[in-house]
Subunit: 161 residues, 2 copies
DNA sequence: GGTTATTGCTTGCATATGCACATATCGAGC
DNA sequence: GCTCGATATGTGCATATGCAAGCAATAACC
């Protein structure tokens, strides 16, 4: 196995390369569509995950599980949307170690106003991939996330088929 | 459509969220396996893409197409492996704007020695996803990359089916 | 062959990501 | 109620990623 065989094997088989490349391309598409909202795709995702919690609030640990994101990354990613006034960060009353992100009214509004822009990107991607391609990708990604340990609730219920 | 509906729609449908989450999880797996090699998954991918070129050299523009990576990102990602002595960066003799990354002997060696570690991650992922899950993911990602404009040669030939 | 448009890349700025380590808090035993 | 291990998070460091603006070299056009 010389270095050229190694390179060919990587190019042909590596799922890390593939998953990252696809994520980059898709993210650029969504980021472009979201430009008018002042949010990046990552930030909209984070806002949405927070909105899913009771009273529009989620403890960081839960966000970490839902998003499969390191808690240290989460700490910093929250700063941008906190600085923008979209969320506030408080402590849990029952466990003072736990920090809870809570949507502000501005956050709620931003989420609603951003959705149509998200949808433009979403529709554009569906057109690009085709109905079947999008469906296959969606399923394959969910299957992989489940296998790699995404939190229950972070995904739609498993297909009983 | 209130903010909660918006959040539920994002959680259920967003392919940007899904592709990024999966890429994160997979990358952590590969990075952990590659730790002993001193390379990150991204760097191994880059090294591999360079190795595929004639004489183990690729112009940056070509790398950008293969990897679907912004040229500005490429500039910086090359620095780490250049500093590590794994590649050299020169100019094309025929067009002095063009920069060409070329594998050094150390780069070739590193690629070969890293491959078994890559393979450990690869095998682990295949076990985790199952044969069918891995195959589905691989195909879906390649289909998406093709649709989103990956360079020919950056992917295996299209399935004639 | 000189002007202009295009191309290839770099830099400045901002966010995203993760690991190792440090800190604060909690819970279990004693 | 003190100690110790476990848990939740923050910080320092490093890389990854992309856009906008700039620079240098080439190509296109007249």
């Amino acid at each position: 196995m010389d270095h050229l065989d190694a390179a060919r094997l990587l190019a042909a088989e590596c799922l890390c390369f593939r998953s990252r490349r696809t994520a980059r391309a898709i993210t650029r598409l969504y980021d472009a569509a979201l430009r008018p909202t002042g949010l990046q795709a990552t930030q909209l995702t984070l806002l949405g995950a927070i909105a899913l919690g009771d009273d529009g609030a989620q403890p960081m640990g839960r966000l970490s599980d839902i998003l499969a994101l390191e808690i240290s990354t989460l700490t910093r990613n929250l700063r941008a949307i906190e600085a923008a006034g979209l969320v506030t960060i408080g402590r849990s009353p029952t466990d003072r170690r736990v920090r809870v992100a809570r949507l502000t009214d501005a956050g709620r509004t931003r989420l609603e106003t951003a959705l149509p822009h998200w949808n433009r990107a979403h529709e554009a991607l569906l057109r690009t991939l085709g109905e079947a391609g999008a469906e296959d990708l969606h399923k394959a990604l969910d299957t992989a996330s489940r296998a790699l340990g995404a939190a229950p609730g972070a995904l739609p219920p498993a297909d009983p088929a």
